[in-house]
Symmetry: C2
Subunit: 335 residues, 2 copies
């Protein structure tokens, strides 16, 4: 049987597009509001401050160990909401499809979107599909925007780190970037490395149940280094990290050495770094370690008085090196 | 001086991207919340039902008579919110840039985004920028998602048209599709045809101030025909249009005849079609005609009992023809 492919007609707003929506897209997303096919979805948002975010995803390849562009599109936006202390409620889904994309690939991606939206407890309530000619995209690109609600007194920012705060990271850094890169370039490992891509809203819920979070960010593009640099700069303090306490898998370290990369600059998609008051750190650490996405949580450093934005790393040799903000892109098309 | 171009490094989450945001993107959008550079924007949404929508824009060319991809991205999403009776409040802005795009083009697009957001009274509070390699996009693609609030008793749907309702359209149909196509293909006219691209939230506000709207849609891809077919199907009624009452410009008619297109199927970006109770129709018509985006508003038909989804057109010869839902795409990359 001939493989079914996306055609320009699928983006035309006519019956071919309606068929695609009715037969392929809506069933895999399992959301009744989509069936209304209104220009905009109407939803009830509980009272409170609202968090709003957006991310486009252009990862190559579309499927990689531990994830795919659909999982990434859900988790990336859910995590951006969670970083503000928001409960993620609704996502929008914008698809840009390249003519000739096998429909089966689209179905696999949408199945993943549906599964991970359910896992994160968010609803995909509205979407849009465009088709561009062959050679005008790379299979498919996804945009997700997200809406969440922030409970009273739960708003978290990148700006609130205070001298004395303890820095926590919820596990190994660099897995996502190296997993995608290795898959793209065809490196092989004895043990397959997987992306850490995961929805972190449940973990943040756990954290907020045990104490206060003064500042938080998910270290995606630019890695842990960029996230901590941004936190220090935005909070007007210095941060000191202990290199030996930052969890990095052997496979990640090995690939990074081979390619001349620093794992601290490699993208993550299921990690957060949080600055918490010392008094709350131990109970939060324990709570996080009981969560499946926080089992390997470690204390990796602390905020201190000092030059605003300065991040120093205590090396295993007992020396200090200053982290610089990365300038460009170590690994393009990683998310 | 060498032209400045977008590079892969601009998408890397490092200082090159921060420079692009600080020097180019933020100043042109003039929105203080963006400067926070948080993972998600926190905003206050007034009480009420919330409307949520998203649209990706892949129009080619990026600039055309009467608009550009930036104006389109603002107006398209504002209009989707307005079609539900919502007051548009916040937009997100997702950019996918092709390596090698002149920064000047990006600046012109963002200037337009900023200008039209101000004109429509919406704030662009959060965004995302990705860069893909040369040949993996067509200059730039934009996604906007939008959040609006729906006042008590003001929710509008595609489903509510009732037999007897009067159908109003706020002016000439087909301008956008034919303007973009003509510009792309290099057709020339004595009088230049412009896209109708416009934010319609103010017009809808005017309409809701004069009476009730039972059903409404903006006839974008698929044109007036698709919008009216969808309204009839969703509302479970039939609709009859009077062809001689549907405003079509001479230039649009001429190009359509040349290419074998039907103007009723050509995309609009500043039009709405509304079904309103007969009792409210005259005062609403008068109100709309006083609005700059409604000066050419006409009564073009009415809803009636009949086969659900059937749309017939009374031709100038006094015969009836049935409108079909378009199947595919007459004009690709039109929005």
């Amino acid at each position: 049987m001939a493989e079914k492919l996306v055609t320009i007609a699928h983006g035309g707003g006519g019956t071919r597009m309606q068929d695609l929506l009715r037969d392929t897209i809506f069933p895999l997303l399992d959301e009744a509001v989509l069936l209304d096919a209104e220009d905009a979805a109407c939803v009830d948002v509980p009272p409170g401050r609202v968090a709003l975010t957006t991310d486009s995803f252009v990862v190559s390849p579309l499927f990689f160990p531990g994830g795919d562009i659909g999982k990434l599109a859900v988790c990336g936006t859910v995590n951006d909401l969670a970083m503000r202390g928001a409960e993620p409620l609704f996502l929008t889904l914008g698809l840009i499809l390249e003519e000739g994309l096998p429909l089966e690939v689209l179905e696999d991606v949408l199945r993943s979107v549906g599964r991970w939206a359910a896992s994160a407890g968010v609803r995909i309530v509205t979407g849009d599909t465009k088709v561009v000619e062959r050679g005008m995209a790379d299979g498919l690109y996804i945009n997700t925007a997200g809406v969440g609600v922030i409970g009273e007194g739960r708003e978290v920012s990148i700006k609130g780190a205070l001298p004395g705060d303890v820095l926590l990271v919820n596990g190994h850094v660099g897995d996502h970037g190296i997993a995608v890169l290795s898959n793209r370039e065809g490196f092989s490992f004895d043990v397959e490395l997987e992306s850490d891509c995961a929805p972190l809203n449940g973990l943040v819920e756990t954290m907020l149940g045990t104490g206060r979070i003064n500042a938080m960010r998910d270290p995606t593009r630019g890695g842990l280094a960029a996230a901590v640099k941004e936190m220090a700069a935005a909070s007007g303090c210095a941060i000191e990290l202990e290199e030996s306490e930052i969890p990095v898998r052997e496979e990640v370290r090995a690939v990074c050495e081979m390619l001349g990369l620093d794992p601290l600059y490699v993208a993550n998609e299921g990690k957060l770094v949080a600055a918490v008051p010392e008094a709350d750190a131990l109970s939060m650490l324990a709570g996080m370690q009981r969560n499946p996405y926080g089992a390997d949580t470690r204390v990796i450093g602390h905020a201190r008085e000092g030059r605003p934005g300065e991040v120093s790393v205590l090396t295993p040799l007992g020396t200090h090196r200053l982290l610089r903000m990365p300038s460009g892109e170590q690994l393009p098309r990683i998310c």
